[in-house]
Symmetry: C2
Subunit: 340 residues, 2 copies
């Protein structure tokens, strides 16, 4: 059915090996032969069987991409970057959605390993032990997660949080709350740490952790009431969707952002500019993260022994928009005075 290298060889009157070389390593075969072979191959529409090639070379020219949830636009962006860069490098991309389930994650990765040259693990939910086991089996690059000895691409979460806080402080906020994401999330840990750490850097701040919430709209609704009750004048949300929920809960309670409470998000997902008030948030270069993951992975695949694992921290950018404003002075601050 399909035309094989054998057919080409016969048609061109040369050996199989010559055909292989004429196409893969042209400099190793004499000009006339090379031209003949290339012409015949092209005329017959010959395409090397990638499976056969992979079987002998041990390389598949494809990579795996594992994400927790394909429906989440956050990961969609990363996927886009990964796919684009991989394609440019001649690699195909296997995609896997773990449904946020660590068990599925390990299982799915295991089944991928055999058919790819390496894996990009995006925001992995698995334990360190699981990752440790994985990295012994195949080249791995981590996104949004650190693991000793494995190349990682991460965002400057700390820088983002500090930029937000600096911005809020400049607006006169002193009592600021943080509405956290999932406890198991690595980036939430980073952001929480940066948040509380900022208290030591800047004197006179009153930083409140509201707790951990599901990183969805509903989580923001929950956090909203706590934020109001906390007496804070500004809330930093773990991500944009939560910030949206927060803003909405404020409105439900007859309050509004930024007049009564400043609200900030994280991620800068598209929707943050589609709503009123536009969300002040931190832009994360997600597509670029995808691209860099591929770069790091291919480097690992090719120069495996020499390359030393590095962690790349991508710069983030504060996007000041409408949901943050000057701290309100009235009621709440007076209450605070009473408190003291």
């Amino acid at each position: 059915m399909a035309v094989t290298i054998r057919d080409v060889a016969r048609a061109a009157g040369v050996s199989i090996s010559t055909v292989s070389r004429a196409l893969a390593a042209p400099e190793q075969v004499a000009e006339p032969t090379r031209l003949l072979v290339q012409a015949t191959a092209h005329k017959m529409g010959y395409r090397p069987n990638r499976n056969a090639r992979s079987l002998v070379t041990g390389r598949s020219n494809s990579i795996g991409l594992v994400v927790p949830d394909l429906e989440n636009p956050y990961f969609g962006s990363v996927c886009k970057g990964v796919q684009a860069r991989a394609r440019a490098a001649g690699y195909a991309v296997f995609i896997a959605d773990t449904n946020e389930d660590p068990a599925v994650e390990t299982e799915i990765v295991q089944s991928l390993i055999k058919q790819v040259d390496g894996v990009v693990l995006c925001s992995p939910r698995g334990t360190d032990a699981e990752i440790a086991k994985l990295v012994t089996q195949t080249p791995v690059v981590l996104a949004n997660r650190l693991f000793e000895g494995t190349p990682s691409i991460i965002f400057d979460n700390g820088g983002g949080v500090r930029a937000v806080l600096r911005h809020l402080v400049a607006l006169g906020h002193q009592r600021i709350a943080y509405a956290g994401g999932p406890e198991s999330s690595w980036s939430n840990g980073e952001r929480t740490r940066a948040f509380t750490g900022y208290g030591a850097e800047v004197a006179g701040l009153d930083l409140i952790e509201l707790g951990n919430f599901p990183p969805f709209f509903s989580g923001g609704l929950q956090a909203g009431d706590l934020a109001i009750a906390s007496g804070a004048t500004a809330v930093v949300a773990y991500n944009d969707i939560m910030a949206l929920g927060l803003v909405d809960r404020l409105r439900q309670r007859g309050l509004s952002a930024p007049e009564d409470l400043s609200v900030t998000g994280f991620d800068n997902v598209a929707v943050s500019t589609f709503v009123r008030p536009n969300l002040t948030t931190v832009n994360l270069p997600r597509v670029q993260m995808g691209r860099m993951c591929v770069d790091a992975l291919l480097e690992l695949v090719h120069d495996a022994p020499t390359a030393q694992p590095t962690v790349t921290e991508l710069p983030v950018e504060l996007m000041v928009r409408q949901s943050s404003g000057v701290a309100r002075t009235p009621v709440q601050q007076e209450l605070l005075d009473v408190d003291v």
Copy 2:
């Protein structure tokens, strides 16, 4: 390095073929042997080399998924469905993002063909001729597009539009505008046709086409002014994001939905419930679409000769929310009277 079928065979004290059968065709091997082999294979962490398998069977057990834009949550959902179902069936998924570019689309599909058993083409932007050529080369299932002789999964666009219009008419709207999406979009064609067609079904309606707009927030902003100028009391937008833009433009002009103008969307993307007013829209079961694409494709791959191409129309659901309300009677209708 990796554990092969040979290792398992040696460890279990059986032949290679027995191992192969014990795992792939368990009914062909005696109970005790089967259990022994399965146990050893599992213990050793044996995973069949898919390349070797594909080489001999001629099947890759993987499918290709081609989408216009991975960053678009619409396609993210479809991807999720495709991936989940494919995985359940033991198939891996190659993903490809065409960047909405027809040229890239054909190019990328061609490079995929040789390494997959079939392709799911989601909302293809290419011409019919390109699709015609493609379907001769590999099993193909189309999503959001019809092509003679090729299985397709589509949404009941017409039903969705009619449901929206029925809803608006019930609210007293008579002069209704449609803000179209890209001219080249198949589903926009369907929706436009249903929109204009509804005028014939229901007497006394005044249906206005505002034109074609980019299916983004910016497109909605553009359409907003035209909608206001049209004197319509309700606008049906091609999709949710445009509807968001429309609502925002209304607000910028000092108007609001649904008081001054009812606005409806299409797709029911997550964000449509995160905004005020919540968007009245049409829910499309996108994840299910992904699943059904895989079902159709695998059927095609397995029973190729017998199966006759079918088009499956997925039911949609009108989600009535806040952005649509009773038609306003004042100013605009009086102006209309003058007009007549």
